[in-house]
Symmetry: C2
């Protein structure tokens, strides 16, 4: 994440929840953090270049307990899960997760969790930064579904980077090398209950350990740290620049319902909208209409001239005097040596269109469009 130009101390009052790993991250040199899903999440340990290098070339461990779980449990759990997402959930298998965009009744995205089938009657949504449990609970009650919506004791610790698989194999055995992406298994680590999942918010490969006992965060953190020593593990955090290079979506960063709406077709997620499978879901009629009309915008990357500072908010994308889209975030790419960003552009604009610019603090800065991912 881009830091503010002026260093502000993070105030941690009673309303900000601490992660089970918080004490361990403090001890291991946490310098920068933010709040996500009402909980502290590390941003940096003071050496962004080393943290980036570990993620790209080695292995990094992240406190991502903020990926809170919304548990849907009961006889109608599948019915509710299916009604919440445009993605067709038939052939769902216990132990194999699926990325499920969640839309409101108008087809705008309100979260993009991974759905994890824990048992026949139990599903978890591993959520981005919005209170989806409120949505799921209201829908469940109003429709009379026989389910309980709650938050389980489950806090992910991510192990990411090309060497993550070796660390996790050393911890849990060679079989984890055969996990498919979003595959997971409930197990334990020397008695600490965890779910091991092949997942994580980077494109460098890795796993997430869902700690199932919030009182044992430091214990799990230290076991991962020890197992990772031979591979040069160190602490890190999700965020730009790797996620921008990889074109990963951030609900909250790239779109947020109140300020920057987008539908799944615009976000390049049309393949997850199943209008033919016959299942009913929230937003179906709106998404059918959007598909028929063709989405108004599409997701793009931009190469940005020079190295302007990200101002902390979405910036307009213009073609001459005309607004043609927006860029939601940008940063310096260490691997490309260029400034790159993510955004949405009007469907009529082609990637090789000339004369495009973003407007940063009143100044037009030339940009060219790019396919995603950048790398």
């Amino acid at each position: 994440m881009t830091l503010s130009p002026s260093a502000i101390e993070l105030g941690l009052g009673a309303n900000v929840r601490r992660s089970p790993f918080f004490e361990a991250t403090l001890r291991d040199g946490l310098t920068t953090a933010t709040v996500y899903n009402h909980m502290v999440i590390p941003v940096s340990y003071g050496d962004p270049a080393a943290e980036y290098d570990r993620l790209i070339n080695g292995v990094s461990m992240w406190d991502v307990a903020v990926e809170r779980q919304v548990q849907i449990e009961g006889p109608d759990a599948f019915k509710l899960a299916q009604y919440l997402t445009a993605r067709n959930l038939s052939n769902l298998k216990i132990g194999q997760g699926r990325y499920v965009p969640i839309c409101d009744y108008d087809g705008w995205m309100i979260n993009d969790p991974v759905l994890q089938p824990i048992a026949e009657d139990t599903f978890w949504l591993s959520i981005a930064d919005s209170d989806i449990w409120l949505w799921a609970d209201a829908v469940a009650h109003e429709r009379g579904f026989d389910v309980r919506v709650s938050e389980p004791d489950a806090s992910p610790l991510a192990i990411q980077g090309p060497k993550a698989v070796d660390v996790v194999a050393d911890l849990f055995g060679e079989r984890i090398r055969n996990f498919r992406y979003f595959g997971f298994e409930a197990t334990d680590l020397d008695g600490i209950p965890v779910i091991v999942a092949r997942s994580g918010w980077s494109k460098q490969g890795g796993f997430e350990l869902y700690l199932r006992d919030g009182s044992r965060g430091t214990e799990l953190w230290d076991k991962v740290k020890a197992a990772g020593q031979p591979y040069g593990i160190g602490p890190g955090a999700p965020g730009a620049p790797e996620r921008v290079e990889s074109g990963l979506i951030s609900y909250g960063g790239d779109m947020r319902h109140q300020i920057l709406r987008a539908n799944p077709f615009e976000m390049g997620l049309g393949k997850f909208v199943d209008l033919d499978g016959g299942h009913d879901f929230i937003g179906r009629a709106a998404l059918a209409r959007i598909k028929a009309e063709g989405p108004a915008r599409r997701r793009v990357g931009v190469f940005i001239e020079g190295d302007p500072a990200f101002p902390g908010h979405v910036v307009p994308l213009v073609k001459g005097p005309d607004p043609v889209g927006h860029i939601s975030t940008f940063c310096r790419s260490p691997r490309l040596g260029r400034t790159i960003g993510l955004g949405l552009v009007a469907s009529g604009i082609a990637n090789d269109d000339q004369g495009l610019a973003i407007v940063v603090k009143g100044q037009a800065v030339p940009v060219t469009l790019s396919e995603l991912p950048f790398i």
Copy 2:
């Protein structure tokens, strides 16, 4: 708010929304901030004692844009608003707000906003830290209410303290002295559209100016700052210790659905639960049952021996070896010269019961119960 023992920098990525007043708060010396409703909120400007003194004895100005508004608009707006809260909304008058606890279907509180009737068919909920728009939107659609749920461009700037009324009278005229609590009026300040409300999250009196054009935050901030100069105005922020002394409720701090549930009877809000008015609302059956059985816990203050540091999470309240409740926050009270806290205790425990303690980092610290507010 209590700061963490170790200073952590606040990371401000694209997913953290900036307030319209953010630039002005930075310029005026913001040193500490946190995130609330996905948006930055100031915590301190580096001199907590002076900030407290201004609030108690003078006048303080606060960026509380994080109090986001959930707008309910349309022919069924009243129906939805009424269905969302246990409080009876008959006799609601445009221009006069009301505090409305919002509960889930089991009677647990999920927010405690102020409802503002803006027009016959338009209501705002000025919310605490949870995404109530998701709740309201899901309920509206599933019940087929003819309403639109959205977020208006409205960002509160609070002016709090005994001299706040003088500042606001100088800005808007003497008539504002006659506003009842939660009374409000749409007007403008030299062309800047605002709603002036007699409200604010302190017991020191004051007003909130709801900025209706998010591009004019610095302008409004500076006008308030200038008008407040004769009264010694300065920047500040809501939070402990004043709110603990005053016994104000913090959804997110005192309770949060996922980690620390409470119902309105337990929180001392039983007078707002109208089971006799005949109106239907979410949680009605559960709240009727809770009332009939008598709530299991009640809200209390505690005087805490010594000056232990708040560990950042709820702590157990015990009587000898037995758990009898919890304390959700505590801090030093400047006016009382004692450490005080807020929590819930089992109904069987009386205020003069002896042998009570809280458990902080494994240590029992003696406490005595107190009525609320402390002051």
